[in-house]
Symmetry: C2
Subunit: 210 residues, 2 copies
Amino acid sequence: MSDTAPNDRATRGTGKDRAAKDGTPNLPPTSWAVLGLLSFGEELSGYDLKKWADWSLKFFYWSPSYSQIYGELKRLERLGFATSRVELTESTRGKRVYAITEEGMAAVSRWAREAPVEPPVLKHGVMLRTWLGHLMEPARLREILEQHGDYAEKMSRRAAGDAGGAAEVAEWAYPELVLRWSQRYYEAERELTRQMLADLDELAAESAKH
Amino acid sequence: MSDTAPNDRATRGTGKDRAAKDGTPNLPPTSWAVLGLLSFGEELSGYDLKKWADWSLKFFYWSPSYSQIYGELKRLERLGFATSRVELTESTRGKRVYAITEEGMAAVSRWAREAPVEPPVLKHGVMLRTWLGHLMEPARLREILEQHGDYAEKMSRRAAGDAGGAAEVAEWAYPELVLRWSQRYYEAERELTRQMLADLDELAAESAKH
DNA sequence: CTCCAGTATTCCGGTTCGAAATATTCCTAA
DNA sequence: TTAGGAATATTTCGAACCGGAATACTGGAG
């Protein structure tokens, strides 16, 4: 334990994206996500990437800000994982489009295969507020949970819709799978919320009984 | 739309934790979480708070870093939402313990009741890698998912255990409810993972059929 | 008596986020 | 027909977030 921890610093890029022994630098997951987006082979601008992410990654990963995307693209290019050129279609102002390189492809692949399996990050504001239930009237808490349930239902339906869209393209078999997973995930979230409301009823009945 | 957005800046503390009309400043959720921890009435040090959070908030919200906790405590004190004193138990070096004030209590309560209901944040690295399934061998993806399933199972069991602990204290009725929710959440996560493995099988069968 | 684990807090640098600022083109409805 | 809004495209900024190292003291085990 104490022989692996101390020099951990050396593998995490304190300075400039240090590469590990196998040549894959230790980038934050966000970088891999952007590179992953590019790994489907199309040339995309930062703007495109953002929409693309909002369309599919949003359900289970994140909805990146432009600042992040553009920043990552610059880093990926610096590392040789992507190349860019300015595209000047007739009349429209130029935009910079990025494409993944072979090294980039090798690096994401290695990351996908070899990165340690990490627990998902969940920040559930609604549950935090439920946890603080003693600070509000039960009726208000109920409202909040109902609103959350509606949200979950909406997301489930959207994921289902987007999964349908992905089904049309053979290359999107895995994205489709994950969108179906997302659909079920939000369905489960809804069910969990219902269950919480039921538990709340029970708690109220309990304390009414004195 | 254009009459509410522009001065949005004024309500988000660009500078120094500006208070809204009702006197509740617009703090990041992290602050409310720390104040929420204190709202159960005990005097706690930053160190205590960290352990407390790791014990219960971890499952559905977050596991804060010390730097965050200590920083938030200072801010809360500055805002008058908490007070602190140095406790000098015999022989042991002093530690600073914090207690919530009445204004603090009023502020968290208002936040819990009135803050807009926001969607949970999920960053699911395993699903991101599944989404990139075309970059690795199906067998490897399967391994990753199985490992994740084990993690979900472990978390479910832990949440169940902690919920049992919370059941012994009457004041922890809501935390207990949320821990039960967590238990089911991780159970669902496990089931979702199983389902994903099944879908993967199907996909393999499909493409084998050519 | 030394070393290790636990308590307690601070410091640092990189990551992440959200929204504003900027600028250009395209569409559309008064 | 022209003002204006929507979409495209990118940059900038400040704050929030995160993890780990650094520091320092104390108590117990061998």
